[in-house]
Subunit: 229 residues, 2 copies
DNA sequence: ACTTTTTTGTGTTAAATAACATCTTTTGCA
DNA sequence: TGCAAAAGATGTTATTTAACACAAAAAAGT
């Protein structure tokens, strides 16, 4: 099991913002636990008591919409903090989170975070920056998901997964292996259409498919499909 | 013309976060100017040099998408700050802003804002809170715009305008008078469909229309349409 | 006041996509 | 190992929505 000390070491951006005494306060109350594949982390409507930090694994932030259809709004990669937005705006969660795969997550009570940012502007700036980046992405995503056609949205999602989770050593096989349903929920389409369009992309040699393993064969063409449709 | 001093007075949340000396620094460099109806405020790709503060009027934040179609991602009401997100994430603007109607906008150089938040945690918290609220709304909006059908999206937009800009004294006539094109860009549909669906809503006595003036006649039914489609 | 341009309104057609049905394959589990 | 359940694949149909065409009304310039 990973030690609290090591977790902070993996988060230089956060770690550096903390004074030695603050650091020990954090280490003292931090809790670490493992989540199984597909295990829920928090649900829409839950009260956000803790800030979470993904130490290893992959996490999706999603929203359940009309007719049981979910929309993935954001993905989290190790090592990254998440789950703090709702607490900062004094709301319950408007999204849910679940692990794509076996994951290890540290949690720090938001009450401590609030205490710390009131005294530590550098820590506050850390959150400002994270939130600002997330908001920019969210706005861009809104337009991509609403205006592009199926091919464009799926191509975009594949490139998004490459950017978010990277590739194997070959530089083109995606590290993220999502179910077709998750691919669909990421791309705002039905599972059938995700399956179909992935096959078409494979026929066109934009990608190759081996079960859930996706390999990007022609990234420029994929970029073009993402832009043009 | 409004004085800088008065502008700050209109922003209690920001004003209170400032120490007297910081306050004078802000007042010294703040500039105020008027924008005509439909005048652009900033464009996608511009460098965000200033934080903006809408003193009076109404502003839309939008993104130009595929085929000249724009998507309104957020609206600003007086008195509210905007245009700081990109600066905080160290990017150029990924959205554009324009005035819905004649507006007065104050600007404060981001360089000063950066200086202030490094010393003033309360000011930093102001931005954390604003960004957290905006991000939650953006995520919710993504799902509403992607999963709901036309009627649901338009009903949602009408309620969104009521919430954002309020109503006249009668409690049901929207203060915001948008063109059909803006209604469409807010609701992710073509102008034709916005016109058509507004007419249908009027026939169904959910709303009444007098040019651009929209009056909500049956809010519960509108809520239901927004949820169910 | 007249012309031009923009906005609004309406009908028709074509394209995109969801819904559904069915089958196969894979996976998990007793 | 074998069975049940889940995931993946594919074809068909129905629905939704965009695109287009055109007319009327309103607004804006000259």
């Amino acid at each position: 099991m990973i030690k609290n000390e090591e977790v902070l070491g993996l988060l230089p951006e956060l770690d550096h913002a903390l004074m030695p005494q603050e650091r020990s306060q954090v280490l003292e109350v931090m809790r670490v636990r493992a989540y199984r594949k597909n295990e829920p982390i928090y649900k829409e409507g839950d009260s956000p008591t803790d800030m979470l930090c993904l130490v290893s694994g992959k996490v999706k932030i999603y929203k359940d919409g009309v007719g049981g259809r979910a929309q993935i709004v954001r993905v989290i990669n190790a090592v990254e903090c998440f789950g703090y937005r709702a607490a900062f705006s004094d709301e319950n969660y408007v999204t849910a989170a679940a692990a794509f795969e076996q994951s290890v997550i540290a949690s720090i009570p938001m009450s401590l975070i609030f205490q710390l940012i009131r005294r530590n502007p550098q820590l506050a700036c850390f959150f400002i920056r994270r939130l600002a980046i997330a908001l920019g992405r969210s706005d861009a995503r809104t337009v991509n998901l609403t205006q592009k056609h199926i091919r464009g949205r799926l191509a975009e999602s594949i490139l998004f997964l490459k950017e978010s989770y990277g590739t194997a050593e070959d530089g083109c096989t995606l590290n993220a292996c999502l179910s077709r349903e998750d691919m669909a929920n990421l791309s705002n389409m039905t599972t059938s259409n995700a399956i179909r369009t992935l096959s078409v992309f494979a026929q066109e040699r934009l990608i190759s498919i081996d079960g859930r393993r996706i390999k990007i064969l022609d990234e420029p063409a994929l970029q073009k499909t993402s832009k043009m449709g």
